[in-house]
Each structure stands twice: as structure tokens, then as C-alpha cells.
């Protein structure tokens, strides 16, 4: 048992505790600025009108949906190779956030689709692969929750995410290719609405906000998980006494 393995959670717990408020406030501020720029400053889109402003939610969340899964894959490697418990906990903490962003991307996309394409859902390549990504998240969460023994749940989840991450690119391209094989009803998403600099700025800031939010939430969850897992260990007991 490497020393790191045991010291990590205990030392990480207070650290995370200190960092959470910072990331939290950053997220909040960035979100306010981003939304302000996006909803009020940015000019109206010449062809889509006001609806297009949904992009300031849609795109950042869609990005996060993908990034977070990659992040989890990274932690999965750590978990399986170095058997660090903290990485497993981080996976468990990130998964719900990733799933949420994926869901939001789907949701906003669907809402956006109605006015622009006249339908909530078209089996566009990107939509489809995002949907599948959601399935992957759900599968991971279901597995980890279903397994009673935490040690085992960690490893099993890690293995699943790893296998999944190998498939993600294959899935993405297969879907893209499948969709273009017989031209579907969907409009290509990136079709040219020239993005004003201000739009890009707003979107970038929103993306930043999402990052900060994810980190803050993940840290909160990881703290909760640590408490739950190490409930009986000495340092946790001392904390609890300190609290109460």
C-alpha cells in the first residue's frame, strides 16, 4: 500500500474545502458576465433572430459534456494502474456533472432545433453521438451505484469508462459517417452564421464558467464521498468532532 494511497484523501479533503468557494464565486461571476454579454450585448443574429442566443448555453455545455468524459477516462487510468482511491472518487464525483451537461446540451439543442429546423429532434450525427454519450454516463453511474462494495465499484467503473473512452471516437465517427451515408433530414450545425467577436468572447466566458462550476461541484461531491468512505478513519472522526 503506497503512502500516497492513504494520505491523499485526508490531505485533499481540507484543500478541496478551501478551494470550493473560490471556484464557486469564479463560476458565478463568469456566468453573470457571459450571460450578460450573450443575452444583451451581443447583436441579434440576422437569420435566426433572438433564438440563436441559446448557443451561449448550448455550445459550452456540449463541450463540457465531452471534456468531462475524457477527464474521467484519465482518472480511470490512474485508478486501474496506480490504484489511487482519490482518482476513483473524482470519477464518481464528475459523472453526474458530465451527465447533467450532456442532458443540457441535448435539451438546449432540441429547443433550438424547433425554431431553426422545425423539429425538436433530428438524427443528426452530433445529436446522436451526444445522446450515446449520455448513455455512457448513465451506464457508469448505474454500475457504480449497483455495486455494493466500494473498492470493487471503483475498479469496475474505471474499467467501464476506459472501454467506453476507446469507443467514443469510434462512435462519433461511425455516427457521423452513418448519417452522411444517406443524407438525413438534418441541417449541418456549423453552417455559416458568422460569429461576431463579442459572441466568441461571451461563449468563451461561458465555457470558463462551466469549467469553474464543474470543478467546484466535483470538489464538493468528492468531499462528501470521502466522508462517506472514510467515515470510521481517525482523521474524519476528528473533523466530525470539530464540526459538532
Amino acid at each position: 500500500m503506497s503512502l500516497f494511497k492513504y494520505s491523499a484523501p485526508s490531505s485533499f479533503y481540507p484543500l478541496a474545502g478551501k478551494l470550493v468557494p473560490w471556484f464557486g464565486t469564479l463560476a458565478f461571476v463568469a456566468a453573470v458576465i457571459g450571460l450578460y454579454l450573450g443575452l444583451f450585448v451581443a447583436p441579434e443574429d440576422f437569420q435566426q433572430g433572438e433564438v440563436y442566443r441559446i448557443i451561449f448555453i448550448h455550445v459550452p455545455t456540449a463541450w463540457m459534456a465531452m471534456f468531462i468524459y475524457l477527464l474521467m477516462a484519465g482518472y480511470a487510468v490512474l485508478t486501474l494502474v496506480y490504484q489511487t482511491r482519490l482518482s476513483a472518487m473524482m470519477m464518481e464525483a464528475l459523472a453526474p456533472t458530465g451527465a447533467m451537461f450532456t442532458a443540457i446540451a441535448l435539451w438546449t439543442g432540441a429547443l433550438w432545433g424547433k425554431p431553426t429546423w422545425g423539429t425538436y429532434w433530428a438524427w443528426d450525427a452530433r445529436m446522436t453521438s451526444t445522446l450515446i454519450l449520455l448513455f455512457l454516463y448513465v451506464g457508469y453511474i448505474a454500475l457504480v451505484n449497483a455495486i455494493e462494495d466500494k473498492k470493487r465499484a471503483d475498479k469496475a467503473g474505471a474499467l467501464l469508462v476506459l472501454v467506453g473512452s476507446v469507443n467514443v471516437p469510434i462512435i462519433y465517427f461511425s455516427v457521423k459517417w452513418w448519417n452522411t451515408l444517406h443524407q438525413g433530414a438534418s441541417v449541418s450545425i456549423t453552417q455559416g452564421n458568422k460569429m461576431a467577436a463579442i459572441m466568441l468572447a461571451a461563449m468563451a466566458i461561458m465555457a470558463f464558467a462551466c469549467w469553474m462550476y464543474s470543478i467546484a461541484v466535483a470538489f464538493c461531491r468528492v468531499r462528501a464521498i470521502i466522508l462517506e468512505r472514510e467515515g470510521q478513519s481517525q482523521w474524519v472522526k476528528s473533523i466530525k468532532e470539530a464540526v459538532s
Partner: protein, 235 residues
């Protein structure tokens, strides 16, 4: 400890038996986290597989939507059937149920209800979302939901019989599928039929009332059939 009590069977009424069996299974379903969500997730995923296999033309998809939704609901219910008796059989609980103070049909009824609450109901609630993916509209969606509400309990009840018959048989799950699917066909035809009818604007009450009739008959007969099947498997 040796206080004299009334023979317990005066206390063990049938309703109570239903409740005992149902509570037990519901608690188990809640305990093994996500079990409730699983039938659902399976349903959603398999439905979403079809566009990937058939192709994205919305017209075509809308055309086949009701059929696909119904077949997938049917499969989702079928996949969860082993839950009803399998683990109870393996760990010896089923023998205890059979020898309990409550008549077996009563307990089976309770188990069926629990199974329906944890599969059929969630399916019926989610079906509309999937329908939207395929471009179905309000009335069509409502008919699908109504059909599922009436149809899924029948699937559970018929399925329970099959599930009981294959207990202790290797490769049972798929053998069960073989026994059960033919019995499911009428449900499928009436249910999907109603949905199709709603799409072409034909009256749907005929189909639905047929489902309702099957449901009523099933409620009377199947608990006894399931109990008989359990007895056969236990000997």
C-alpha cells in the same frame, strides 16, 4: 415468550398476503439502487438503436415509431421478468413462500403488482419522450401511453407464469423469452394497432377496450396459474 396467542392464520388475511409479498419485492427493488431506472434505461437505449439501424429519414421513422416503441417496451418488461422469482428460487426463499401461512396465489399477485410498479409504470411515463424523438404528436402519444398502461400489466402477469416455469433451467432467461413472446403477441397487436389507428385517424377505443378486457381476465386467472407453475418448479 410463551404467551398464548391466537393461531396466526386468523391474522393472515389474503389482502395482507398481497401486501407482504409486494412490500418485500418493492423494498428489494429500491435497495438494489437503480433497479427502477434500469428497465427504463434499457427501453430508451433500444428504442434509440432503431434510427441508427434504419436510418434517419424522419418520415420513415415516424411511420415505424409505434411499432418500435411497443416491441421495445415488450422486451424491456420481458428482460426484467427473472426478477420476479429467480433470486427467490436460488436462495430458497421461494420454498419458504410456498410453505408460508399465505396461499401462494396471493403472494404471486403481490409479486406481480410490485413488478408492474417497477417496470410498466416507468415505461408508460417515458414513452412519450421517445415518441417525440420520432416526431409523434400529442394524440398519438396519449394513445401509446394509454395502451402501455393497459398492456404492461398483462405482460407482467403472463410473463410471471413463464418466469416460474423455467426456474432452475439452465439458459432459462432466453428459454423464458421463447415461452413468453408468443403469448405477448395479442397485446402487441392491440397496443401497436391502437397507436397506428390514432396515426391514420381511425377510432382507437376498440383496440384499447380489448386490452382492458384481457387485463381483467388476466387479473383473475394469472395469479393461480403462476402459483401452479411455481409448485411445479419446486418439486
Amino acid at each position: 415468550m410463551s404467551a398464548v396467542l391466537p393461531r396466526a392464520n386468523e391474522l393472515t388475511t389474503p389482502e395482507r398476503g398481497v401486501w407482504v409479498a409486494m412490500r418485500r419485492d418493492l423494498r428489494l427493488a429500491v435497495r438494489s439502487k437503480g433497479e427502477l431506472a434500469q428497465a427504463l434505461a434499457f427501453f430508451v437505449i433500444v428504442v434509440s438503436l432503431f434510427p441508427l439501424a434504419i436510418g434517419p429519414e424522419s418520415a420513415l421513422l415516424k411511420r415505424v415509431a409505434p411499432g418500435v416503441v411497443w416491441v421495445c417496451a415488450l422486451l424491456a418488461v420481458m428482460l426484467t421478468l427473472p426478477r420476479i422469482f429467480q433470486s427467490d428460487y436460488l436462495d430458497g426463499t421461494l420454498e419458504q413462500l410456498a410453505l408460508s401461512r399465505y396461499p401462494l396465489p396471493v403472494l404471486c399477485a403481490g409479486k406481480m403488482i410490485a413488478h408492474w410498479l417497477t417496470t410498466g409504470v416507468p415505461l408508460a411515463i417515458t414513452a412519450p419522450l421517445l415518441g417525440l424523438q420520432f416526431g409523434l404528436e400529442g394524440r398519438e402519444l396519449m394513445v401509446i401511453v394509454a395502451g402501455l398502461i393497459l398492456g404492461t400489466p398483462i405482460l407482467t402477469m403472463l410473463g410471471a407464469i413463464g418466469a416460474a416455469l423455467v426456474l432452475g433451467v439452465r439458459g432459462g432467461s432466453i428459454l423464458m423469452a421463447l415461452l413468453v413472446l408468443p403469448l405477448y403477441i395479442p397485446v402487441l397487436i392491440f397496443g401497436a394497432g391502437a397507436a397506428e389507428a390514432s396515426m391514420v385517424g381511425v377510432d382507437v377505443t376498440a383496440n384499447l377496450s380489448l386490452l382492458a378486457a384481457m387485463l381483467l381476465i388476466g387479473m383473475v386467472v394469472t395469479p393461480f396459474a403462476a402459483a401452479a407453475a411455481v409448485k411445479i418448479s419446486l418439486d
